[in-house]
Symmetry: D2
Subunit: 343 residues, 4 copies
Amino acid sequence: MLIVLKERDNSEELDRLLSYFNKRGIETYLIKSDNRTIIEFSSEDSNVDKKQIMSFPVVDRVIDIKDPFRLVNRKLIEKDTIIETNNIPIGGDAPVIIAGPCSVENERQIIDTAWIVKEHGGHILRGGVFKPRTSPYSFQGLRKEGIHLLFKAKQETGLPIISEVVDSGDIPYLEKYVDILQVGSRNMQNYELLKAVGRADKPVLLKRAMSATLNEFLMSAEYIMMEGNRQIILCERGIRTFTDHSRNTLDLSIVPAIKQITHLPIIVDPSHGTGRSDLVESMSLAALAAGAQGLMIEVHPEPQQSLSDANQALNPLQFSNLMHKVQHFIEWQKAYANHSPAY
Amino acid sequence: MLIVLKERDNSEELDRLLSYFNKRGIETYLIKSDNRTIIEFSSEDSNVDKKQIMSFPVVDRVIDIKDPFRLVNRKLIEKDTIIETNNIPIGGDAPVIIAGPCSVENERQIIDTAWIVKEHGGHILRGGVFKPRTSPYSFQGLRKEGIHLLFKAKQETGLPIISEVVDSGDIPYLEKYVDILQVGSRNMQNYELLKAVGRADKPVLLKRAMSATLNEFLMSAEYIMMEGNRQIILCERGIRTFTDHSRNTLDLSIVPAIKQITHLPIIVDPSHGTGRSDLVESMSLAALAAGAQGLMIEVHPEPQQSLSDANQALNPLQFSNLMHKVQHFIEWQKAYANHSPAY
Amino acid sequence: MLIVLKERDNSEELDRLLSYFNKRGIETYLIKSDNRTIIEFSSEDSNVDKKQIMSFPVVDRVIDIKDPFRLVNRKLIEKDTIIETNNIPIGGDAPVIIAGPCSVENERQIIDTAWIVKEHGGHILRGGVFKPRTSPYSFQGLRKEGIHLLFKAKQETGLPIISEVVDSGDIPYLEKYVDILQVGSRNMQNYELLKAVGRADKPVLLKRAMSATLNEFLMSAEYIMMEGNRQIILCERGIRTFTDHSRNTLDLSIVPAIKQITHLPIIVDPSHGTGRSDLVESMSLAALAAGAQGLMIEVHPEPQQSLSDANQALNPLQFSNLMHKVQHFIEWQKAYANHSPAY
Amino acid sequence: MLIVLKERDNSEELDRLLSYFNKRGIETYLIKSDNRTIIEFSSEDSNVDKKQIMSFPVVDRVIDIKDPFRLVNRKLIEKDTIIETNNIPIGGDAPVIIAGPCSVENERQIIDTAWIVKEHGGHILRGGVFKPRTSPYSFQGLRKEGIHLLFKAKQETGLPIISEVVDSGDIPYLEKYVDILQVGSRNMQNYELLKAVGRADKPVLLKRAMSATLNEFLMSAEYIMMEGNRQIILCERGIRTFTDHSRNTLDLSIVPAIKQITHLPIIVDPSHGTGRSDLVESMSLAALAAGAQGLMIEVHPEPQQSLSDANQALNPLQFSNLMHKVQHFIEWQKAYANHSPAY
């Protein structure tokens, strides 16, 4: 059970409430969320009377949550979380388009890509600089040099930038330049990294691990949120299954399923989700139709010259066609929302 | 390698061609497809000269196919196969909506559902009468009585009907009444049944098995097509994975992937694919956006009274809302197709 | 709830019991198992008094079973089922070794293999004659001719024989010659075939489907048993997962798990379970160590000449080494069983 | 291609070799392994003559490796790696038994468990102190206090100890006390942590991630080995599949498969691999029979009081029975190895 306290909590009143629990031998747990304090305790062990608790003036609401996650739970925060970065809202009605190369390779490549993204209506530029690669012999990213190139692309085009963090030690440096910190699939259950980005000042894009259930995905978001950072964007990027026609299986059904139970926005990465550039357009449309609040697309000026994931990046023409169709679809979605029958 | 012969083949000329192979010790294999004859042989074992073969007057085209499937291959038949039943085209530009209850339960239920389906723009009525159930103690379907009720619903509403066949012995009877024969997931590799429906006169809807790869799925269609039946509709209905937020994982990426390599139409069943009625609308839209040429939707007048799969059937209001949105989306798709940039 | 009636049931007494249920509006379901009759009804819907039921003289026992399976349930039949064919017990303390080629190819191949199997201590000869192949262009088996060759191998060596049935129409013919009927993975949920072998007079070896849960596997056995055939041997043969070092993932943990809840014997097929002959010996030992009551091994006089599954068949030397080790291991197991501490 | 240099390499001779490559425009990559230097280059891009390279006096061997992994490759190091800690060899003929509770909970619990482990022949004590838990609300481990309790258990019983590291910052502290550092499944692709333990002075036990392929598993070991640490123990602990009778699916076939291609030892954790204490004994035997070079077993004085993973821990009696059987089996294995036929 969760007890949400009133916004301007009076610590004296809080002490009184806590001593009420204390006397009854009930262990409580304090969660700070924004400017609210939330008290958690296990209602199963106790004969606590909900009415009595409500009578304490410091108490705002009492919520019965049996789910393992709390702060990310829509039962606690009913309204959709909307995250703003550089005036771009993520999680609202208009889907956000994040695009860019898998890795930042050189100045010309990232600047060129940034202009391509901007020109066709993309909102945020992605580019890996610290690359978590399966093989230690694969290109590991340009690291700090890459951040500077990415930042330069931001300065030239005005597009906010997102890049992956793989080591909590890099956060102070990354935070100065990037607008969103990405936690990759392989690190979704690297709890030390989750806590570290939870203390950062920037929004976090959390990618689902290849074999994570919906609950595990949300529990990782909960780790971040517990540290104070409420700005979390979830990202479905394909799960590992037996299939062989695509590199991963894009699990679009998690989009409507997760939106029912969390207030956090969820976007979809059809590039990693399929591993095939020829499937990206279809699956982008499908993701938006399923309710995704954004897309993360790999685009590269010359995919065949790309240092990583060449098969899944779109070339400029493919990206242009995709964005043309995506924008038409988004307009239809908006128009339909305004004329749809009341449910 | 496949050699497609000219339409009106001269058996004398054919014999000459076959003896050409025979002399060179090359084993050939004759495939009859529609009014065409196709000769297959393994080009790896041979030093056959393509030009020489082309010089035989009976030869129309020589196609190099390394894929394990041939007749279902777009390399053999480039144009989309369009199947017509009762003036409803399946596989063309306009998606087809198949809807109805999991099982036919009684006259009132199936007639009521048929009217609901028709009223909201559905094209074909589904209803199980021979039910393959995991448990022998579960409701096994009304069998022959069910066919008659389904047929009665067709007579009243004019909707063509589809029902599952589980035993080849039932085909002669089923064929008299139903417009499309369905082969279920559990029987996708029941080759005796595949061959039997391959000899039937009705179109076949073939559901992907829960752990079938794209190739295995197409090979099962190949079994049907080898027996002469070219009217095959593929159906994605979710694969088995580790996830637990949905009963199966709807693998929408197979839709654009399979359309590249086969000329057969593919539709999607989001009801079985998710097992949750609250996800059906989102996944229906997503399926169409991914390129599915139709949907198969479970609808029931009173889902909570349903004898099977109660959690996944839509009630009439949900179906009405779904169809409203689906039809708007289809109109957008059509409008977009007419105004899209040339690729 | 299950009510097991006394062996020589008096139909008059049975009628009295049934009318007792009838008066209370409780639906019952009669199951015939061997010479016993079992009455099933849902205890949830009723306020039936167990003591009252026990007072009917025809009643032997009342068992509370909530599992979806009944006849295969160890709660109904506590003792291990032991199946005998040609004086070979399957399901007892001594593991049974079934070995032979994937397919019967010609007389010499099957006779040679039979002698190899016999010479090294194998008990039963396997050999496919009706082959369910993914591709219609692959070798489909010698069919009836194959049965006769297999039977000839039996006559020469004295080894009982097992072969797969794919069509219920073939059962009358197969039954005359083979000692055990095999239902393959692809047909595990082909309920019409399950019912047909359930009416056959021969033991049935039922292979787990590639994506079947433990419950689904047992439910398929229940289908067979409901038709009267109690002689069922379960067989684990690998499940479909994301791994790529083996063709399937041999799920050995199902062996101890299933033995707890069913009285039916379970054996393991490490040849199909791994798809690699170099892993077969290790996984054979592992299977027996996990408690498997037998092994099904592919062996071929010249695996590289084999018409199907060449990579997984053992050659005669590998089979000899395997059997040497397996027999030592079985002796150790027997010795340990006799000297183990009482649990 | 890999060029292994002679042990006492002469830097002048090395320079000459490198300039040979340089002149031909061939990029090389130096790998330090123990006291050897290895030069890697892509043989595909070059017309380098193997004989010419062999003629350089500094060159010991030239090995053609196409696998993505090198240092862990048996082609590079043919002999089994044997790791010694406190006179206990890991990777040799005698399997090693690592046992203990999931988490260190208090002094009495860990000391009691240590004595139980020792008394029944276990070699190494495990105990989690930094716990990576799916939920931030679950018990996170006693952290530094736990290390001291674990170390106390070592001092009392003489058993070496192993514990999981989740943050590279904790390594300097952990290294002082524990004998083996464990990298858990969730961190198998946390490359920063892999590199950090690669620079540590203690052996590393690397657990396979829930959805890792064999290659990915070995590539993670390669990351560790590239940093200089050659003492790596691999551990199979179950993969994520669709099954529901066990928490994970223990993939024992990876044991013989991985031993063919790597010189590193591999052990098995049947406790996490099944999640069910009643399956642990069977799967322990199966693991050893498959060739595992050790077991990692959860044991707890009172499993029902355990703070984590209560269902999978053995109680002292179960552990005693397991060890009795395991030791008999190991003796049989040893005896058989001495009398087995030469392959």
